[in-house]
Amino acid sequence: MHKIEVLEKKWYRYRLKMIMIPLGSSVVTAFIGSGGYYLYDKYYIHHKPITRVLSATKEANSSDINIVKVAKVEPLEKSNDILLEPIIPVIDLKKEESLHYAKKSTNSSTSHKRLVKAKANTYLTAKELASISSVERRTSSKPYVMKKIKFHSTSVNYIETIKEKYEHSHSSRDALLLAKAFYKKNAYKEAENWALKANEINFKLEESWLLFAKSKAKMGRKQEAINILAKYYTKSKSSKAKALIGQIKTGKI
């Protein structure tokens, strides 16, 4: 074969290479791009927090998505009072009860009894009960001074305590608890803010979406609430969100 023919074959290979390289890189880029978009669409948008959904929704008023800064909670006045850490709503009541009775029987051996009346959401944990009894044991040699437990306004106490807890933990759960507490107190603006905060920390928290929408609905901004829930439902297919939309539409909320 003549050297030019060999050269021509080399040239064909070269041209093929020159075509394949950009073509291959385009295919890879397109594949990566579409894959990335798919993942973005499936996961990121699906789980994006309320604030982003709000900013993406034209109807949303920008003033509504501002996070209202919660005034710094002043630490409670230092006293000898025993502060009870609030209990998370879900507790094993039977276990707690049995522990409570066990401690109660121990306490009954002492001459001084402490009666703690708490609401369901302020049950003492076993740990706290143990700490109380240990305090008592430490002070048993001294003349006993009755320690006063402030429960005059349990709900305020609860909120303050959770707020304080949130200051330390910055957990979505605490923020959600606060949102719930405010919602129960009909303080919907506060509830909305705390739901938003919970959602910002953990946008997968379904309750934060629901509570946020419910608060909005309660404040009369039903269309906004529906929009938010609709967005959330589009991505999550949450039956709760759907039911809530129905409730808002029918005026139940």
């Binding site: 030019i4 050269l7 021509e8 040239w11 070269y14």
Partner: protein
Amino acid sequence: MKSKFEELKTIFIDSVDKNNYVELEAGTYNYNILETSLLKPLKMILLYGKPGTGKSMLLNKLYHNLKEHREIHYFDAPILSEKAFLKEIYESMSGQSIPDNMRVNFDGLLKYCQSLRDKREIVFLLDECQLYSEALMEKIRLLSDTRVVKFVITLHKTEDEDIIAKEHFKTRIWEVIVMKNVTEYDLQLYLQKKLIKKGFIEVSNMIRKKDIKYIHFMTNGNFRETNKYLYTIFDIYEYYEKNSPQKISYKKLSKKILEMAAIRLGYIDA
């Protein structure tokens, strides 16, 4: 049947021939500096640049332009033996032939040069001086110190030779002319002039601006590389003209052939 490309490719065979010299802006500028420098009382002039930048061609042109007007001698190939070099210098200056069994004594040559002071001024053009030994270069310097002999030397610019140029000549050379690769514009002029000069006007018209750009990209505007590249291009054309004429066009340069030539010369890794 004889292919026209067969003749065409020969004009790109690399040779230092005054007839192949193509006037370019940069070349003309350097030539004028060189000619002016020869009028000054300088002892040594250095033409300095990478291989293929046209140093030898410039020296050759200078020789042919001045040989009728002044005493000028051109050593196009380096004379590596000191004995032969001194003999050649003496013979050139004196016009006498030295028998093979005799040699030129350097001291005697120096005295001979000194005896010619204010009487004659002789120019020696030495090409490829990077091949001369340091000892011989020292003798060249001493000869130039007599102010009777002027040397125009060319030196390749490589890393090692850069040191030679700097260290060896920095105190001895009064004029340095740096030769560089040409721009796209100059390359276009070079090819056009070269082709038109030899009567290949239609081939000159085949070369478009983008072809020049591609050729410049491949050769970096180096004359030697350009000649080599064009020779290869027309060699391929010649083959196609003889064997598969349907594969070539006479209206424009084929990109395929440009690339094939680049592959053959190793400019492109295929």
